[in-house]
C-alpha cells in the first residue's frame, strides 16, 4: 500500500480540462493514508516481535480477540456521522454478556435462543437510549453517559454471584471456533479466500466500467490494477496464514458480513444518505423531509444491537461472563472511528475507514501484548496513536486547502 501512495504522490499531473480527476485522486490518497498507517504499524510490530505478530496462530487470535472493536466501530461510525456519540457500549457489552450467560446457565435456554435474546436485549437498550436522544431531545453524550453508569450497574446486579463460566461449547465457538477444516492446509479457507478475491475483482471491474460508461473521473489503470493486486495478495496471504492454523474463524465470517452489509447501507441506501445528510446539516435535512427523529432512534437501536453482538462475541471468546467485561470498549471503538477518518462534528466517515481504524487498534493490542508491554503503557501508546492519526488527518486536510 505504501508504494501506491508514493507512486500517486509523485506522478506528474497531466493537464485536464475540468481538473476533477485530480481532486478525486487526492481523496483516494487520504483513504490510502489510513491503509498506509496500518501497513506501517503491522510491519513495525512484525519487526519488533521478530516475526511473531504474523504467526498463523497469532493472526487467528488477533481476529478473534479484537472482533469486538470492529463490531462496535461499525455501529459507532454511524452514530458519529450523524453527529452523536455513544459512551455506553462497554457497559452494554457487560450487561448483554451477563444476560447471555444467565439465560444459558440459570434459565436453561439453548445457546441459539440465548444469542437471539442477547441481541434483542441489546436492541432494546439501544431503543431506550434512542428514545431519550431522538424523542426527548437530550444530547447523546448525556444519555449514553447515564447509560454507561446504568448498564454497568445492571451488569453488576445480574452477576452478583460473580463470574459465570462453563458456558456451552457451541456458544463459545462463536468467539473462538473455526469453520470445519480439511486439515493442514485447510482447503476450505483457501477456497473462501479465492472466492472473496474473485468477488472483489469482479465488483471493482464492474464499478470501473460504470464510471467509464458515465464518463466519470477514474483512477489511472496502473494504480487501479496495483490496488486490486495488493488487495488480492493481502486476502490470500491472510487465508494462507489461517489455513495453516485451524481454518477460518467463525467470527471472521460474521465480521465480513457486517462490513459488507453496513458499507452498502451507508453508501447506497436512503437510510445511509439520511445519516450523512443529518450530520452535514441537521436543519437542512429536516427541511428536506428527512424523519430525523426516527433516523436518530434507529441509529441507536442499531448501535445497541451491535453492542449486543459484541457482548455475545466477547463473552463467547472469554468463555465466561464477568461484570467488569467491556471496560473501555467504547473508547476503543470511538478511537477506531476517528483514526478511520470520521469528523468530530459529524457528516463524514465510512465503515471501511472505521474497520481499518479498528484493525489499527487491534494490531496495537495484539502486538503490544505479544511484546508483553505493561497494560498501563499500552494505554499510553494507544492514546498517542489516536492523537497522531487525527493530527495527521487534520494536517493533510489543511494542506490541501480546506
Amino acid at each position: 500500500m505504501t508504494t501506491t501512495t508514493a507512486e500517486q504522490a509523485t506522478a506528474p499531473v497531466p493537464p485536464r480540462p475540468d481538473g476533477a480527476k485530480k481532486k478525486r485522486r487526492r481523496v483516494d490518497l487520504r483513504q490510502y493514508g489510513i491503509l498506509a498507517a496500518l501497513a506501517v504499524i503491522i510491519l513495525l510490530f512484525q519487526v519488533l516481535t521478530g516475526g511473531r505478530l504474523l504467526y498463523p496462530g497469532n493472526v487467528s487470535n488477533l481476529i478473534q480477540q479484537n472482533a469486538y472493536v470492529l463490531i462496535l466501530a461499525i455501529g459507532m461510525v454511524i452514530v458519529i456521522i450523524a453527529g452523536h456519540i455513544d459512551l455506553s457500549v462497554g457497559s452494554v457489552v457487560a450487561t448483554v454478556g451477563a444476560v447471555a450467560a444467565l439465560s444459558m446457565n440459570s434459565w436453561g435456554l439453548p445457546w441459539g435462543a440465548a444469542v437471539a435474546l442477547s441481541l434483542l436485549v441489546g436492541a432494546l437498550i439501544g431503543a431506550w437510549q434512542g428514545f431519550w436522544v431522538a424523542f426527548v431531545g437530550i444530547p447523546a453524550f448525556i444519555v449514553t453517559l447515564a447509560g454507561m453508569l446504568v448498564f454497568r450497574g445492571v451488569a453488576l446486579v445480574l452477576l452478583t454471584g460473580g463470574t459465570i463460566s462453563g458456558l456451552p461449547r457451541s456458544f463459545n465457538a462463536i468467539g473462538s471456533g473455526t469453520l470445519p477444516s480439511t486439515g493442514t492446509p485447510d482447503l476450505i479457507t483457501l477456497g473462501i479466500g479465492a472466492l472473496a478475491s474473485l468477488a472483489l475483482v469482479v465488483q471493482q471491474l464492474k464499478g470501473r466500467a460504470d464510471l467509464r460508461r458515465l464518463n466519470l473521473p477514474r483512477e489511472r489503470t496502473a494504480s487501479f490494477v496495483l490496488k486490486i493486486a495488493l488487495a488480492v495478495v493481502a486476502i490470500m496471504y491472510l487465508c494462507y496464514l489461517l489455513a495453516y492454523n485451524r481454518g477460518t474463524p467463525i467470527i471472521l465470517i460474521i465480521l465480513a458480513t457486517l462490513v459488507l452489509l453496513y458499507s452498502f447501507m451507508l453508501s447506497r441506501t436512503v437510510f445511509g444518505r439520511h445519516v450523512y445528510a443529518m450530520g452535514g446539516n441537521l436543519y437542512a435535512a429536516m427541511m428536506s423531509g428527512v424523519k430525523t427523529k426516527w433516523v436518530n432512534f434507529f441509529i441507536f437501536v442499531n448501535m445497541g444491537f451491535l453492542a449486543g453482538l459484541a457482548g455475545v462475541v466477547s463473552t463467547a471468546r472469554a468463555g465466561s461472563a464477568v461484570a467488569s467485561a467491556g471496560q473501555s470498549f467504547e473508547l476503543d471503538a470511538i478511537a477506531a472511528v476517528f483514526i478511520g477518518g470520521a469528523a468530530v462534528q459529524g457528516g463524514v466517515g465510512t465503515v471501511i475507514g472505521a474497520v481499518i481504524g479498528g484493525l489499527v487498534m487491534g494490531v496495537l493490542n495484539q502486538g503490544l501484548s505479544i511484546l508483553s508491554v505493561d497494560a498501563a503503557w499500552q494505554q499510553v501508546i494507544k492514546g498517542l496513536v489516536l492523537l497522531l492519526a487525527v493530527a495527521f488527518d487534520v494536517y493533510s486536510k489543511r494542506r490541501t486547502g480546506r
Binding site: V13, R16, D18, G19, A20, K22, K23, R24, R26, D210, L214, L216, P217, R268, T269, V270, F271, R273, H274, Y276, A277, G280, N281, Y283, A284, A285, M286, M287, S288, G289, V290, K291, G347, V348, T400, G401
Partner: protein, 515 residues
Amino acid sequence: MSEPILEMSGIVKEFNGIRALDGVSVSVQRGEVHAICGENGAGKSTLMKVLSGVYPHGSFDGTITLDGDPVAYGSINDSERDGVVIIHQELALSPYLSIAENIFLGNEVQRGGVIDWNRTNVRAAELLARVGLQENAATKVLELGVGKQQLVEIAKALSKEVKILILDEPTAALNDDDSAHLLGLIEQLRTQGITSIIISHKLKEIRAIADTVTVIRDGRTIESFPVEDSDEIETRIIRDMVGRPLDHQFPPREPSIGEEKFRVEDWTVHHPIDVDRIVVDRASFHVRAGEIVGFAGLMGAGRTELAMSIFGRSYGSGISGRVFKDGREIQTRTVGQAIRNGIAYVTEDRKRYGLNLIGSITVNVSAAALGKLARLGIIDRHREYAVAEEYRRQMNIKTPSVSSVVGNLSGGNQQKVVLSKWIYSGPDVLILDEPTRGIDVGAKYEIYGIINEMAAQGKAVIVISSELPELIGLSDRIYTIAEGKLTGELDRAHASQEDLMRRMTASRIQGAQPS
C-alpha cells in the same frame, strides 16, 4: 490623480488546480468607494479574501501594494493591523455575546488580560453612535436583525482603525430601509477618509454610491471605470459582467392561468417560544394553476413565518387554519407530508436550512426526492448522477463537477443548487423565499425564466421577495402583508411600488383590510 492607496496586480489563485482568479488587477484610489462587480463565481469574494489575508501570502500569485509598499499578509490579523478590514458575505458575529463584546472580540479593551468593562462599554457606545445604531451595547447579538448586525460588523471594523473597509454583499439580506441606512453610512465614512470596497449585485446601489467600478469575469479583470448615476453605466456593467448586452430584466411571458390550485384559509401562527404572540393572523389566500403570486412585506412582517409554517409546521406553535390543493383539504403537519402533498419551499437561508455544505452537489440536488431515485430503499446512483448533471446544465451551475462539495461553490451557485433540489422534487406548489438573493443579473434572468417555466407547467408559484421591482416584474398578483396580517391584494396591472409600500406599512390600528 493621487497615487492609489491599494493596488493588486496579476492575482492568480487556484483551488485544487482550478483557477478561481486568473490574473486580476485592481487599483483603488484613496478615499473612494470602489465597487467590484461580476457574475456568481467570477471570483469577487476570493479576490477580497486574498486581499485580507484569509488566503495567506504564498497561497496565490501576484502582488499587492498598500500605499505604495508591497504587503504579504500571513493571516487576517496582519491585514487588520494595516487597517484592511473585511466584512464577509456571511456575517460572523457570536450570537450569545453582547454587541460590545462582539465589537471588541479579539481586540479587547484590557489591562493585563483583564477586560476593562467600563471603557469597553463607553467606546462601544461611541462606535454605535457613529454607525447610527440605537441599541444598548449590552444587548445580545441574537436579538438583532440582520440589518443591525451588519452595523455591528461595521462598528467592529471602525474599532480597528480601519483604512480600507471591504464589504462583501452587505445589503443582500437587508430590506430597503436598512440598505439605505448602510449606504448612507458608507458615504459618511468616505467623508471621514475611509476607503471602501463594496461587492454587490444590486446595480442601483452601485450607481448611487460608487466612484469607480471594476468588473470581473471568469477570474479576469474586464475593465475599470468611473461611475455616475446613469442607465448607461448600468448597461455597461451588465455587458461587461455577462459578456453580452441584456435587453430585458425579465424574460417575456404569456401567463396562462387556470383553476384554483392552492388555497390557505384562516392561517394563524403563534411565536414558537413566546406562544401568546401572534405572528401570522388569519391569513387567507389562494394561487391558481400557472399563476405567479408575490408576497410583499417588510422584514419581520411574517412572510417567511407564513411559508415555513405551511411547509410542515417548520416554524411556530399553536398553528391553525386549513390548506387546500385542487379543492381538497390536505394536511401539512410534517415536512414529509407537505412534500408528499406536492409542496416545495425554497428557503431564504440556504446555509442554515437549504444545504448540506459538506455534501456534493449530487447529494444536495437529490436530498428532497430520494424516493424518486430509490427502489426498496436502495439509491440508483447512476440515475442520481444523471439528474445532478441535468440540473447543472439546465441551471448553469458553475462547477468543475457535480461531485464538488457545495460549500466550495460561490454564493449564487449555491442558490442554484437549492433551487434545483426543490424543482427536482416535482412540486405542484412551489414557494420561493427570496429566490434571487445574492444572485447576479444574468443568473437572475435565468432564474426568472425557470420560475416562468414552472408556472407554464401549471404549477402554483409563490414568490416572497424584498425587492419590489422584482415582485412587480414577475408576479401576476401580489399580496401585501404587514405585522402578520394580509393587508392587500393587487393585480400586476395595478401594482405600483408606492401602493405596495403603503400597504406593507399599513398598521393594524388603521384597520386595513384585505381588499
